[in-house]
Symmetry: C2
Subunit: 149 residues, 2 copies
């Protein structure tokens, strides 16, 4: 079976975007934590370059910025209603009582990571540095209100 890796039980719970609302909280939590892990993995080398801890590598920076920009729009579907508990999560329940604000903050992240990816292609280090800080600000804005740690 070519598709043997795809079990029916998983299908039932994951299905489509429309069905994400019916996703088990623990699956959504696992998913969103995974997106954040991959995002951070790519963010950290950029951070090290911006801070001068490792040499600036324009091609690598641009590649990682591209990845982060592609990951950012994948976060919101990891926060379906009811997924404030069920597994380890730093997500505060306020997310779901202020979901419009939370969504707006996610859109800020999407916009700024997209800008970072675009600016990174140009290779102008000063512009990259400025946009990197601006993007980090959108991370922090959301964490300050909606992440327990």
């Amino acid at each position: 079976m070519r598709l043997a890796l795809l079990s029916l039980s998983l299908c039932v719970s994951l299905l489509s975007t429309a069905a994400v609302a019916q996703t088990k909280p623990e699956d959504a939590i696992k998913y969103r934590r995974s997106v954040y892990t991959v995002l951070l993995w790519n963010w950290m080398p950029m951070n090290a370059m911006v801070r001068g801890r490792i040499p600036f590598d324009a091609a690598e920076f641009a590649s990682r910025a591209e990845r982060v920009a592609a990951l950012a729009p994948q976060l919101l579907e990891g926060f379906p209603q009811g997924s404030h508990e069920g597994a380890t999560t730093d997500a505060k329940p306020a997310i779901w009582t202020n979901f419009d604000d939370f969504s707006a903050k996610m859109k800020d992240l999407e916009r700024e990571t997209a800008a970072l990816a675009s600016i990174a292609k140009g290779g102008d280090q000063a512009a990259i540095q400025e946009q990197f800080a601006k993007t980090g600000g959108t991370c922090k804005a959301c964490h300050d209100e909606y992440k327990a740690d």
Copy 2:
């Protein structure tokens, strides 16, 4: 601090591609498991569409295929030398004794997911179905040899 979320301790271990070889095995394992989780999250709705369990939605399929194609090239750096243990992992030690073959299989996945993303944009369901099965075959080829489960 705009970048307060980025701790020095994490920087030291993650740094750049060049430094990935020095990454702690447990960090690499967490990273690669996360990439697989996000990949599977996006794969499952496509699978449900291909199997007729949910209605085919060309735009959603194309979007998820695009994500999977972007994730596939991010896997290999999650398998640095020495990361066969240190945390829960299904990765068989054979990966590191046959790393050329393992890398080639990852390249197969990259190529076929890219083709799937490209074909998905066209919206031809029969072509999509065929390429989806072909892509699933590259998942299986690697799992059969290198994944314990």
